[in-house]
Amino acid sequence: MTTSTVAETAAPAPRRFSRTSPSLLLVVAMGAFLVLSAVRTFTGGYDLTSSGTVAAGLSAAVPIGLAGLGGLWAERSGVVNIGLEGMMILGTWGCGFLGYNHGPWAGLLFGTLLGAAGGLIHAIATVTFGVDHIISGVAINIIAPGLALYLTKVTFAHYEGGGQKQSPPINDAKAITLPFSHWLHTIEDKHWFAVSDLAGLIGGVTTRLSLVTLLAVLVLVGSGWILWRTAFGLRLRSCGEAPYAAESLGVNVYKYKYIAVVVSGAMAGLGGSALAISAHQFRDGQTGGRGFIGLAALIFGNWRPGSLAAGAGLFGYTDAIQLRSSAAVHALLLLMAIALALIAVWQWRTGQRTIAVVALVIAVLSVLWFADTKKVPDELVGTTPYVVTILVLALASQRLRMPKADGKVYRRGEGH
């Protein structure tokens, strides 16, 4: 059928798999960095780029990123997993349970297993019994915290250092510090434009970098590789895009969905464990909606690992700032305004006029707020990471495209 030579020339030139090119990413990153140091110099919000903030931000990003990854696994196979929050809670509890006397790694392993168990329940409900994905997920979110609290009362309450709502302390996981990092601190303290900021960034990642964080990065890269580079990943994703096509090619859709959802739970459990380890104990209500933020990062990151990691990083970063200094939170207003203004320009150019206008309006309001006040009211400081992350992600996202069969109940042989 060489036939369509004509149609071929007439049809638009093939649009290759669109992935942002590395050089473009580099330019964007450089630009963002320069803006960041300019704002830091101008406002004096030193914590915007201090190594402390970076380190704290990194460890705060880990649970979010892992929750998002959990969502990625499940949703790429076509199962919506809104139960991530609940599975994460199981992870925090599990980590507390084994972590306090067997060390953080045993805790991490058990937390991950409990998360996977949560995933298994979700898989049985949604894949085998065809329960609506949202209903099953919400049920898990309701049951998990109650279960964790109950278990806490029957276990930790009797342990030394434990309580009705918390576990005894967990030891820190091993952390690595690179030899040159104290040099960086010296440079950082000079507060030079760009140079000190760069030192802060690098210092943040090379000083007391927890192995848990390293593990999370490996899991992220590994997930991306498995899902997009292996035959297994292709099959798994095909279940989320066109399960009946996959079935017609002999792919066992049930099997892949099961694996995906169990891994999804494990990721959430791992995220919960990381959270418990960085807080040195399990505490009731510790997750604070991070499972949902992870899900938001997944959605606005267009179901791709790179963008979801960026979303998680943004949350971690703003969370760290919020915890460390209110001056920096104030400076964050200006930073967000600049970011939104840039997003507005970009969205305008890609034809998304409405989004551009909304972004610009919010940017202007933030500038006004910044100029008119000395600090952000304490009551609002705690919400900054949530607000900033959702605003930036939502306004920056482009043509979101969820897996086509995501959330749809699949029944073997009922394709058409």
Binding site: T9, A11, P14, R16, T230, S248, L249, K404, H416
Partner: protein, 544 residues
């Protein structure tokens, strides 16, 4: 391989019925199947498959000789697709047996069938839109290297396949950017990639234009000469006769008999399918009136990347006129139609319906203004597959009687009107409460045509209105459209079936690369001339 008098299955009883009256039946000898088994690629013996309320296959017998092209024909809902799904392991037969190379086999899933060398191209595409061509093709039998999918090797193999069979594949293109013709080729490549020895093609030509069909048939002959066996379904009987070595006719789930393509005419074959005589085609009458219904001026439409896919197109359609657009798939027809329906924005230009400017109206407003729309892909755009027939009747017409009473849906009214459509358009169904997905492809199409002709529209936009519809039903649909046209309906007709286009249209324009490149007079133009004009090779006869 045996030629005439090919061996038939042992269970020749059902094979005899009805074949005698055309005198060309190549009917079963009733011989022992194990003797002929070695020559047979696949053999279906007494297969029965029931669905709730329907017997889709009843004691079906087919013997397919190795290295031949074997056609299966039958009316819409006769059970052809069901039988193919049984052969491909997607459905389990309730009774009967399938033999490959003389040995009985049981397929629990398509992977068993693939392992046995059976591959299938489905009537409705089985592709993941958001995957690349390569990903769609390799899925399920991926070449790997060191744990990872070996994209390089896969790409090479696909390009080699593409070259050998002229499939013109772009491995890294996203499937959602492809037209139906290209999708079809991807489907065929999927099967070849798996090294199938028996190819099942369910209506592969329904979406292709004539020269694409010719090339497909060249491909099939090539495959055949390499010893592959092809089992295919088509409603286009002349093409069946031209390409098939054997023909099996199925009527209402039963094998009626076999026919010899060398001695049967399309008309005889059609009568064998339907079991009665066909009405003769009526002669052309001129019903074109003065009043312009649809007027399109300087319409330009851009695709998602901002390229102009329809460029500066202008035309008028008058009341009682059928305006045909001929073109190879992917030359802007779909985008033009979507712009007319308000699904895709017009970049520039004006669309007016009976003098009212529609350019900025929403799809719903356009429908309310009296546009009926038969979309090219019935399953993606025309139906809610899980919804019942009467709910699908309401779809797109939920603002007008008989579907509503005040602000509420009028169930009784909608149901009554669905019954009417089922009756008038001969939709073969056990009832109007079954989901649309349980209808055969052709019957789904009839339901949509019936719906869109309801409520006396002033303009009907018909993309491939008879795609996948059997000859009898096709004639019935044409009849309905002609009647509506006589009553003043304006019709925009887009069809890959050039006979249909020429037979139905009062005026034809050829579209190429998003532009109208010439007019053709339907009274004088032939399908061949039109076909070459569509590729830009020659100008249509009677060009304006």
């Amino acid at each position: 391989m045996t030629l005439a008098g090919s061996p038939q299955s042992s269970d020749g009883g059902a094979g005899n019925v009805g074949s005698g009256n055309v005198g060309s039946g190549n009917v079963g000898s009733g011989g022992d199947s194990s003797v002929g088994g070695a020559d047979l690629a696949i053999e279906v013996v007494g297969v029965t498959k029931r669905f709730p309320g329907v017997i889709a296959n009843s004691d079906v017998n087919i013997a397919v000789r190795r290295g031949t092209v074997h056609a299966v024909v039958g009316e819409n809902g006769a059970g052809k697709s069901t039988l193919m799904k049984v052969l491909y392991g997607m459905l389990r037969p309730d009774e009967g047996e399938i033999r490959i190379g003389g040995k009985p086999v049981t397929f629990h899933s398509p992977s068993d069938a693939i392992a046995a060398g059976v591959g299938m191209v489905h009537q409705h595409f089985m592709l993941a839109d958001n995957f690349t061509v390569l990903e769609n093709i390799v899925l399920g039998s991926e070449p790997t290297a060191r744990g990872a999918l070996n994209f390089g090797a896969a790409r090479q193999k696909i390009l080699a396949l593409s070259k050998t069979y002229g499939l013109d594949l772009a491995p890294d293109e996203l499937v959602e950017n492809l037209g139906v013709g290209d999708r079809q080729r991807v489907e065929i490549a999927k099967v070849l990639f798996r090294g199938a020895r028996l190819l099942i093609l369910d209506e592969p030509t329904a979406v292709l234009v004539p020269h694409e069909v010719d090339e497909l048939f060249d491909n099939l002959r090539e495959l055949k000469s390499e010893g592959l066996t092809i089992l295919f379904i088509s409603h286009k009987l002349d093409e069946v006769i031209s390409v098939a070595d054997d023909i099996t006719v199925i009527r209402r789930g039963m094998t009626v008999g076999t026919a010899n393509p060398h001695s049967i005419t399309p008309r005889q074959l059609a009568e064998m399918m339907v079991g009665s005589e066909l009405p003769s085609p009526q002669t052309r009458t001129d019903t074109v009136r003065e009043a312009v219904v649809l007027s399109v001026a300087g319409l330009t439409v851009a695709d998602a990347d901002g390229r102009d896919i329809v460029q500066d197109v202008s035309f008028d359609i008058r009341a009682g006129q059928v305006f045909g657009i001929a073109g190879v798939e992917g030359n802007g027809q779909s985008e033009l139609v979507e712009a007319l329906m308000g699904i895709r924005p017009a970049k520039s230009g004006r669309i007016t319906l009976n003098g009212a400017d529609l350019t900025r109206q929403t799809t719903r407003e356009r429908r309310l203004a009296g546009i009926g729309y038969i979309p090219e892909d019935r399953q993606r755009q025309g139906l809610i597959l899980e919804g019942s027939l009467w709910e699908n009747r309401v779809l797109g017409h939920s603002d007008s009687p008989p579907n509503i009473k005040g602000p509420l849906i009028d169930r009784a009214g909608a149901r009554r009107d669905t019954e009417r459509i089922v009756r008038e358009f001969d939709v073969r169904t056990p009832g109007i409460d079954i989901p649309a997905l349980a209808l055969s492809g052709g019957n789904q199409q009839k339901l949509i045509v019936g719906r869109e002709l309801s409520g006396s529209p002033v303009l009907l936009i018909a993309s491939q209105p008879t795609r996948g519809v059997d000859v009898g039903a096709q004639a019935a649909i044409w009849e309905q459209v002609r009647n509506a046209r006589a009553a003043g309906l304006a019709v925009l007709l887009i069809s890959a079936d050039l006979e249909e286009l020429i037979g139905m249209s009062d005026a034809i324009q050829v579209i190429l690369r998003g532009r109208f490149v010439g007019a053709a007079d339907p009274a004088t133009v032939t399908a061949e001339e039109l076909g070459s004009a569509m590729t830009g090779a020659g100008s249509a006869a009677g060009a304006a």
